[in-house]
Symmetry: C2
Subunit: 464 residues, 2 copies
């Protein structure tokens, strides 16, 4: 078995330049779902990649949104792995903070810089390349694989729920590898067993008519002030949400608490993992991890009103808005949270503050660490890295993973290629070439062992 | 004397097209002091106009800012009138709210639309044209006139204080006509005896590093939230300022209160005067006027943080700022108010909120209604309109009038050409052609009677 492993490894090494070229080709294509830029071209590149593997490919546009790509390699094996990734990316602004253009990928000091390098084209391509490697080395794939490739994850995956509902019978699988995952500064695998939920909305205050001279400020209300006053009732200076009932459903389970306690992490690890050492609040490690991973937030993504160019303009603005995301932990229901927010604004006298929901959102998701599919991920990562992995109850971010765990009822987890300095959603997003290659190998190992493991609790390619 | 008056009047009528052409030529020139656009060209046009009158013209750039133009017509008369106006204008945004391009003046239904039409090129040109009319009709000017024409009023007149200090001996005069002033919907003159003071500043919250994925919001503070929380401590929902000591110096005098009580104005007048009927708070008339004219404010002119384009971006912004003006009533000292604001932020735990002062500002100004120069303005306006004028203690807005009243120690007031629908500082700024012409006539009458009035309490050209 060891020989097969070595063959897989050396195949990846020999093909690394070719693999990088395929990756870079996709990174060159913008695919910003917020604006629609380059989405169709990115989808075409990916469809070609899948077809080259021998996959049957279908695209779904039932909701009129960006295509969802379903690629299937049905090898008539006794087990099926689902792989969920997305090919859309976040907008690039602030563009002036990038040291190289976000859609002209550059490799500097072993890192590939580009928008989407880590979120999520790195994982997407690495998993396609893992399948390719296995087909080329073994002659056939030892497991059935289904790719669901989303084109709207960065705008809240609006088409995905309908897709999952409508094509449920096509989407059966024994486990699902989710986007994300990576390695920490010591090289340990970071495995994530869930994701937070999210809601995205705007609070808007409008006044009839246009902007006015600011001397009216004594007798005409200022929408910017109204928005500020409304926002200030939502949260206190310690970050605690003041909406009645907000935390009622946010009760953590013992398994998640236990995973946090078991994380072999010191403050230097957290600093490296977050790459934001000086910014993070001073808290004991455990408390910091609990707050980071197990607490819900309401965040201001953007706020605008009136004159914001250089110099002075004395104006009473005609409108103001704030863009906000609300991140949910397991058991919080998005609809209920929205209802509570609206009730809060009304009961505090802010009937003039409109709540525009840009994304009705989705709940959090969580898979138990006891699931065999998760235990295999832990085993595989030990072989690849030589170290115990870090198993997190969930990522700090969100994703519609509940569609897999709660609708399709498959165990679901992340095992991937990113690293703590990836700058996800930020300027200078990047990925380490070394981890990209290691991730391909790790994915190969997982796919090779999956069927014997779930059928007979045996992992033949991990014995040597 | 009546014949002379008629001659002046018919001269204005005959020349009205020519006068409009001169006005429109200046309106075509942008002169936005916030950006510097077109300032020099506008100054040149005005210098040419003054030279055509026979004025001696000097420009001052001692502070490196936009030129201050001093135009003098020394007729060796027994009295001197100062005229203060400014040739700079506010920025034009939001541009999409204009029904015609702001620097392509259009006359529609008797109104001239252009940025600067009312603030302040209308008054500036009307006063130059009044002098021109008198020279042409009478053969000589019956009073000495000094024009101070500012190029930075809309950015807080930063060069003006030094100019006034340095050239004090050149700037002697018996009274000063200030920018602004106009007619109400019934055609009554609106005379203003003062202006509020103003400070312009930014509150800024910066975080080290760039924008981050918003999932960090649980353990890294959000500058937008910090700014919102800081702002919310400054004002309550009723508009009351919560800064300790803010109102201590804002004690109104009896003369101002008396002027408010004497204003013959009903709610319909206020609505017409403000042109914002539906927006204004429901208050008894007197209370509304007091709040409008005699109360200080802190206004949010603009606020910005993070992602404000269309769609969704889940980001933790790296900075946030608010642009604010503070309007001061008589006796409030700008330096003291800034000190109180900084103390307030510190004592409320907002040491991370930087106060960047864009304009250290100036205090309010007020001239007594008992001043002979004011009483002449009242008399003249009665002849021109056939009605008692409305005499306001001050405009609702600001201007560095204190330089005239407190430094040069001249009585100072506004008597001009605007009207309540002028949309000052807003899209579709405009002026009525009828009032522009009436204002020229009113200014002529004032200049003709000034010397006999202040010397002998006689107004020969008002007797008939």
């Amino acid at each position: 078995m060891y020989r097969v492993l070595e063959k897989v490894k050396s195949h990846i090494e020999r093909n690394s330049e070719l693999f990088l070229r395929e990756f870079v080709e996709l990174l060159r294509c913008p695919s910003v779902s917020a604006t629609g830029e380059g989405i169709e071209q990115a989808a075409e590149i990916i469809i070609d990649m899948l077809k080259e593997l021998g996959a049957s490919v279908e695209t779904y546009r039932d909701s009129g949104g960006n295509p969802i790509i379903l690629g299937e390699l049905n090898e008539k094996k006794d087990g099926t792995i689902m792989i969920y990734d997305h090919y859309d990316v976040q907008p690039v602004d602030p563009l002036d903070k990038w040291s190289s253009p976000p859609f002209q990928p550059r490799i500097i000091d072993g890192k590939i810089y580009a928008r989407g390098a880590s979120d999520d084209k790195g994982n997407l391509v690495s998993r396609i390349l893992a399948v390719k490697t296995l087909v080329e080395v073994l002659g056939e794939l030892p497991v059935n694989v289904k790719f669901i490739l989303d084109g709207e994850e960065e705008v809240g995956s609006p088409s995905l729920p309908k897709f999952i509902e409508n094509y449920r019978e096509k989407l059966g699988a024994d486990a699902c590898i989710w986007e994300g995952g990576g390695f920490d500064r010591a090289g340990r695998s970071m495995i994530y067993l869930g994701a937070k939920g999210v809601i995205y909305l705007e609070l808007i205050v409008m006044r009839r008519g246009g902007d006015l001279h600011s001397s009216w400020g004594t007798i005409i209300e200022n929408p910017a002030w109204r928005l500020v006053m409304a926002l200030s009732t939502i949260r206190n200076t310690n970050g605690k949400i003041l909406i009645d009932g907000f935390y009622d459903e946010a009760v953590e389970d013992h398994e998640a608490e236990q995973l946090i306690r078991e994380l072999d992490i010191d403050r230097a690890d957290i600093d490296a993992m977050t790459d934001q050492a000086e910014l993070i609040e001073e808290l004991p490690n455990q408390e910091l991890l609990r707050q980071w991973l197990l607490s819900p937030t309401i965040n201001i993504c953007g706020i605008y009103s009136g004159y914001i160019d250089k110099g002075q303009k004395t104006v009473l603005p005609s409108y103001a808005f704030a863009k906000m995301d609300i991140r949910l932990v397991p058991r919080m229901r998005p609809g209920q949270i929205l209802k509570l927010l609206k009730q809060h604004l009304n009961s505090h006298g802010f009937q003039d503050v409109q709540v525009e929901v840009l994304n009705r959102g989705y709940p959090a998701a969580r898979t138990s660490p006891k699931e065999p599919a998760v235990q295999l991920a832990v085993k595989v990562s030990k072989i690849v890295t030589g170290m115990e992995p870090l198993v997190f109850p969930n990522i700090a971010g969100s994703g519609p993973m509940y569609l897999i765990t709660d609708i399709l009822r498959q165990p679901c987890f992340s095992l991937g290629v990113n690293y703590p300095g990836s700058n996800i959603h930020a300027p200078n997003e990047n990925i380490l070439v070394e981890y990209f290659m290691k991730g391909i190998f790790q994915c190969c190992l997982y796919l090779m062992n999956f069927v014997p493991w779930i059928k007979h609790s045996d992992a033949p390619y991990l014995r040597f």
